[in-house]
Every structure is written in structure tokens, then in C-alpha cells.
């Protein structure tokens, strides 16, 4: 089964016990809306790519970690879109959860997704007691306090924000969770995989900032200019577009170089470079250089 199908199947498995006829129908619909159709599924793809590079000898555990990470990401998007945060009416090219189902069901479906993510992972990981503690720590740290995505989002409520701390927690933490949990699920030590997650997390954040300025809204599926509108810290605003694009390229290089020795090292490095090209084509940097000259 290819990675995309594995992810969709594991998301189905994680939610099948919850989305039954007994569940409140509107809550079930809001949860489905938050999860399907998905975005790029970047974090679970990364998690499984690392597990595969490390031998993937317990695919069910890797799948459960990947599904948990994606569900936690979906939950964070639902809550980030709420009126009290970004007040975003669009997500992935259609109404956000609160726009479609109201604010109360947006709060509750986000809550349910957090619970279901961890509930499913804990249930599967209990089968693998030796690997459970490390996989569990990797995933929960990525979302929790003090350094996970909840803490990252909360930095927006602090009077002063250090840009790198903010991005590391808000975006990087779940990427680190993806690489470390992917390795640990396959029985490999997770610590050497932190750098890959951190570099890619920062690269995605920088790419998002760049695309917030240069992409067309149709292609992104959400309104552009959100960072400026909400006065959020943004690499593209702080460093300028050219610098941001150069920085992105360096992060992709750094990410590829950081891949630890493992059976699938070269394949994973190629994947990292291809993903970088998909996000911010190197042609954009060449264009910007020409414009700046």
C-alpha cells in the first residue's frame, strides 16, 4: 500500500469507533469535515517516510503515530480558525469548521480530535509496550506544553514573541514529533531524527510565509495576506522575500544532510528535496534574484 493510502486507512481506523450512528450527528459531521478531504498530509507522510527509511517493522504502530499526528494537526487548524483567533471562514478551499457548523461544534470537534488522536495511539501502542514510552513521548510532546503546538499557538497571546521560538513550537514541534515517532515506531532511536523534523518544520513555516505573499488564493485554498491582516510574526515580512526564499533553500539542504544513517537514507533525501521543490520552486529564487539585480 502506498503512503497516501496507508494514511487514509489509518485515519479511518482511528475514527471508526467514534463516528458511529450513536454519536451526535452534527458533531460527527464536524469531525469528518475537519479530517476529510485532507490537505497535503505532510506530517503523517513524513512520519511514515522515516519509519520506512528505518525498516518499518511495526507498520501498525507507525500508522497509529502518523494518524495521531495528523488528527492533532487537524484539531489545531479547527481551533486556529475560530473567531477568537484567525476568524478564518475558509480552509482547504471550503468553509472552515466554525463557518460550516458554528463555533460550538468547532470547539467540540477540535476537542474530540485531540482525544481521538491520543486515544487511538494509546490503544495501538499498548500492543508494543517496549516502544510505547518513546513513541508516546514523541507525539505528546509535539502538541503539549511547554514546547508543543498548543504552547506555540499560545505565544500569540504573550505580550512579546521571539519569532524563532514561536515558529519552533507552533509548527516545528509536530514535525519533530513526526520524525522522532516514525523512527521510534520502527525501533530506531528517535533523537538523531530531531534535526530533520526541526529543519523541515522551519522550512514549511518559511514556505507558508512566502506563499502567503506570492501564491494566488485559488491555488492555496485559503485567503492570502493572513499574516499581515492579523499582525502575526512572519519570516517574509521580517526578512524580505528574497532572504526568506534563500533561507528556505538552505533549510531544505540542511534537512537532507541531517538524515541519519539508515537503510533508506538516499531515498528519503531525494523525497525531502522533491518536497522542497513542490513547496517553493527553485525557479522562484532565480526570478527574485533577477528582480533584485
Amino acid at each position: 500500500m502506498d503512503i497516501r493510502n496507508r494514511i487514509e486507512a489509518s485515519l479511518q481506523r482511528a475514527l471508526e469507533g467514534a463516528l458511529i450512528d450513536d454519536a451526535p450527528p452534527r458533531l460527527a459531521a464536524a469531525v469528518r469535515h475537519a479530517v476529510w478531504p485532507g490537505g497535503a498530509r505532510v506530517r503523517p507522510r513524513l512520519c511514515l517516510a522515516v519509519a520506512l527509511a528505518c525498516g518499518d517493522d511495526d507498520p501498525l504502530l507507525a500508522d497509529a503515530a502518523a494518524a495521531a499526528i495528523e488528527l492533532l494537526h487537524c484539531a489545531s487548524l479547527v481551533h486556529d480558525d475560530l473567531p477568537c483567533f484567525d476568524n478564518a471562514r475558509l480552509r482547504r478551499g471550503r468553509p472552515s469548521v466554525h463557518a460550516a457548523y458554528g463555533e460550538r461544534l468547532a470547539v467540540l470537534s477540535g476537542d474530540a480530535l485531540i482525544v481521538l488522536a491520543l486515544q487511538g495511539l494509546g490503544a495501538v501502542a499498548a500492543r508494543a509496550p517496549q516502544r510505547l514510552p518513546a513513541v508516546w513521548a514523541a507525539v505528546t510532546r509535539g502538541v503539549s506544553m511547554p514546547h508543543g503546538i498548543v504552547a506555540g499557538q499560545a505565544q500569540e497571546c504573550e505580550p512579546q514573541v521571539v519569532l524563532s521560538d514561536y515558529q519552533r513550537a507552533k509548527t516545528g514541534a509536530l514535525f519533530v514529533a513526526a520524525t522522532v515517532a516514525g523512527a521510534e515506531a520502527a525501533g530506531a532511536p528517535g533523537a538523531p531524527w530531531r534535526a530533520l523534523g526541526a529543519c523541515l518544520g522551519e522550512a514549511y513555516q518559511v514556505a507558508d510565509d512566502i506563499r502567503d505573499v506570492v501564491a494566488d488564493p485559488e491555488a492555496l485554498g485559503k485567503p492570502v495576506g493572513q499574516d499581515v491582516m492579523h499582525d502575526r510574526p512572519s519570516s517574509a515580512r521580517v526578512h524580505g522575500l528574497l532572504d526568506a526564499t534563500r533561507h528556505f533553500g538552505e533549510l531544505v539542504d540542511e534537512a537532507a544532510a541531517s538524515v541519519p544513517a539508515c537503510p533508506g537514507r538516499h531515498q528519503l533525501q531525494a523525497l525531502v528535496r522533491a518536497e522542497g521543490e513542490r513547496l517553493v520552486p527553485t525557479a522562484l529564487y532565480a526570478d527574485l534574484l533577477r528582480q533584485a539585480a
Copy 2:
């Protein structure tokens, strides 16, 4: 150590890794505000009382389950108080989290509490792989979909609500989690303990409805008349105060009778009756009978 002290110590342990200097200070303050000073700590007291009645041979596991259940309860209160739900400015006699820290930190501190509850339980339960699956299932089902407290709260967003389903999920589910997890944490089968949790959950809900009508606001620490104001289903409104008070007494009797055979059966039954008296004094029923005559 007495039960109260055990609970406070286990809550401290569950949050000590999160509330460090590195955490966003306002988020950490909002989480503290949601947890301390606590309310009656009814659910974790029940969980530990059952574990003790069953021999309590793994107190750290029972403590972790009790703490997780209380933190999930605190999270649900923070989110229930949000402007889009009850818009309650007071909780436990002081400002609710959103009144004190704003809506964004109320959403995020609730999210953080859900994560921290399950993160801590998973980490402790990993030490006890044989008991982990049953304890884990008990706690997560109590909060999750389709029948946990998140699903219960979501019933308020459905066009039609069956009162008993609503109360069973919104309140009863976490009481059932408390009794079943308390038993399983002590190595006893959890299923025979479901009835105690279900009866007490319903009894607390009925008591809450009664106290929403007859108690004085100072003693409750929150505004009374909330059910009428928000047009919520309420036993006291549906059945009248006298019937509700009679029903409460029956539920306490049923709860005491349901306690399964175990080393501490009589002590636990006495505790159940004392708690019933604390919530709705039998003198109230006598008063109401006199008034009705």
C-alpha cells in the same frame, strides 16, 4: 496520605513538566487557574475510593487515572464556560478562565489540559502494560465520542435531545470512567463498577439541577438559574423539585446497593451515603414533602 492530598499531589505531578519557566507564562497561568484551587474533586475522589476498596495495589496508576479524569473535567469546564456555550463569567466563586485570561487562552488552556491529562496517564500506565489497556479505555471513553463528555456537550448542538442520553454522556460518562478506571488500576475487573458510576453521575446531575433552583449563589460559587437562562434540559424543570429530590434519594440508594463485592464494600457504601447527604440533605426532601402536603 489521605485521598485529598493524594489527588493534589497527583495533579501537581501531572502538570509539573508543563508548567515550567519555558512555557508561555499566560498559558501556564490560565492552566493553573483552571485547576487550582479546585472544586470538590468529586471524580478523582470517587476513582481513588474505588481503587482503595479494591485493594489499591498500584497507587501510582490509580493516582494517574484520578488526575487524568480531574484534568479532563477541568478542561470541559473551561470550554463549557466559553462565550459560545454558557458565557459564564464566574466559576468556583471567581472569574472563569475566559473572564480572567480571554477567550483565546481559554480555548488553548482547555486543549492543553486534555493533552496533559492523557499524556500523563499514558506515561504512567506504560509502566503497567497489563493494566494499561483497560485503564486507558475506561478514561478515554469517558471523554471521547460517541458516549463521552465531549459528545454529551455536543448534544446541546443537536436539534432534539433525549434528556437521559444527554445527562448520561455529559456527566455520567466521566463518573463511569472514575469507577471503572479505579477498579482496573487496582487489578479488579471494571465492568461490575459501571453501575456505581452511572448512578452517581446521574445523582450529581440531578443534585446540580436541584441546587440550581434552591441553593444560594454564595454557597454554590456560580450564578444560579443557569439552566433556565440557557434553556437547557434540567431534571428540576422537567419533573419538578419534589420529584427530582425523591429521584436523587433513589439514585443514592441504588448507587450504594450496586457496589460490587470487594474488600472495602461497607466503607465505600457509607462514603456514598455521606456524599449524598452533603449534596442534597434528606431534610430538604422532608421540607418539600411538608410544603406539598
